[in-house]
Amino acid sequence: MSNTLRLNSSSNKLETIEFYFNDKKLNGYKGEPIAASLLANGIKTIRTCEITGENRGIFCGIGHCYECRAEVDGIPNVRTCLTPARQGAKVFSQASGIKGDMEDES
């Protein structure tokens, strides 16, 4: 996998899956939360603030802060830090279709 932020570990044995973030095809490991797959792909911005339009990403990583929410397979406001992706999952930054500046940052 071309996931540049993966740390050395035994994860090599894990099964790779493909999913889509804002229509872009990405790889992740089966069973890991979507937020971890996104970060491994260098993606830090998961959504934009509904009011200010500013970028937002992972903050607490365990479901308390709701900053990493996204639309997953048509369901809005899914906390990506708690939710593993399934093969072929379609993840979007916002249910309303706001894309903002969602290109890769790294």
Binding site: L7, L39, E54, F59, C60, G61, C65, E105
Partner: protein, 404 residues
Amino acid sequence: MKVDVAIIGAGPAGLTAAVEIARNGLSAAVIDEYYRPGGRLLGQYYEDPYAPADQRTWDGKKEADQLEEKARSLGVHIFMNVTVWAVSGKWRVDMAGGDLPAITSNVLLLATGSVEKALPVPGWTLPGVISVGAAQTFTNLHHVAVGKKVMMAGIDPLSLSVMIELKNAGVHVAGMALPPMSSVTGKNKTPLQTVERLQDVAGLAPNLLVRKLGKFALKRFPKLTASGLRFNLLKVNNVPIHLRKAIVKIEGEKNVEAVTLQSVSVDGKPAGKTESVEVDTVCLSNGLYPLIDLAQTAGCRLVDMPELGGTVPLHGPDMTTKVSGLFVAGNITGIEGAKVAMAQGRLAAASILQSLGKQAAITVDEAMTEVTNAREKAPLRFLPDIEEGRIKMNKIWEAESAHG
């Protein structure tokens, strides 16, 4: 579903309690909103110098997996990825997220753990600013680097241990600085107060910290140590610990690009000019507080106890509450480490079994002694006055009991 005991929280306290309850012949259900059991155990990976020689490495994920396996083999029902949004009656647990019907039980055990305190600083909503707990989880559980160059803000037992974990995993940590010195966030976090607290971390990294500063020096001469550290930079695991610099701003347009630090006096007053350090990630640490919402919902009286980390449910030393059929265990009772939480889980189970007239493998008194032992052997103390807090809580409990 109807069970004897419903347990909310699949962390060290909840899982240990579930195992103990199931082992003694009662049915239990454990509910948690994370995608896998273990709670804070999942992110923990450190050396415990006080543990027996063959148990020095604390692999929290392994502990979590073993607890889960034991619980499942004993028939404990585990519901993950579901959020408990209400507890009512005696007892009905309503859940969201899994299309599950409510769980009813005779006993409710709240093992909901703790939440990180926010550390607001200009720029903290930028992608790339994360909490110290997130850094730990992404590093040790997901094995994904949180960034290419990390600055940590907040120098405390948790952030120091996570810094060591980040370094061990190969993540570049550029340094650690104090939190912003505002009247809200900087309270109790001045250079002097931070140095006074470092003695609590000595157990975690005795060779690193005590060698540099000396436990004696930390205890007796904190002011002198704090003054001296102005020029004499402390390094732990080769990471500069800026005991006289506080974070004032996080900069960047779309992501974190830099962090601004400012020199401060021993008592936390701005002193000297600011400097900008280029980083792509900022990790904020401001401590933890007990997650008590469901205790409040269940009608349990709450007590404000800063020594325990915040507001906690009124509870006895045996993990009982004044609400019949309601028990608590783990960080909901005060912020401590996983081994204490596990001992509290076992204690809560013993108390629950006793309340239901069941013979337990361990008595309540024995289990209470185990909690005390776990506390004494804890490799790091998250709160300096935890024992004092426990004593205060016991006194309130006794006074309340005397009045019926």
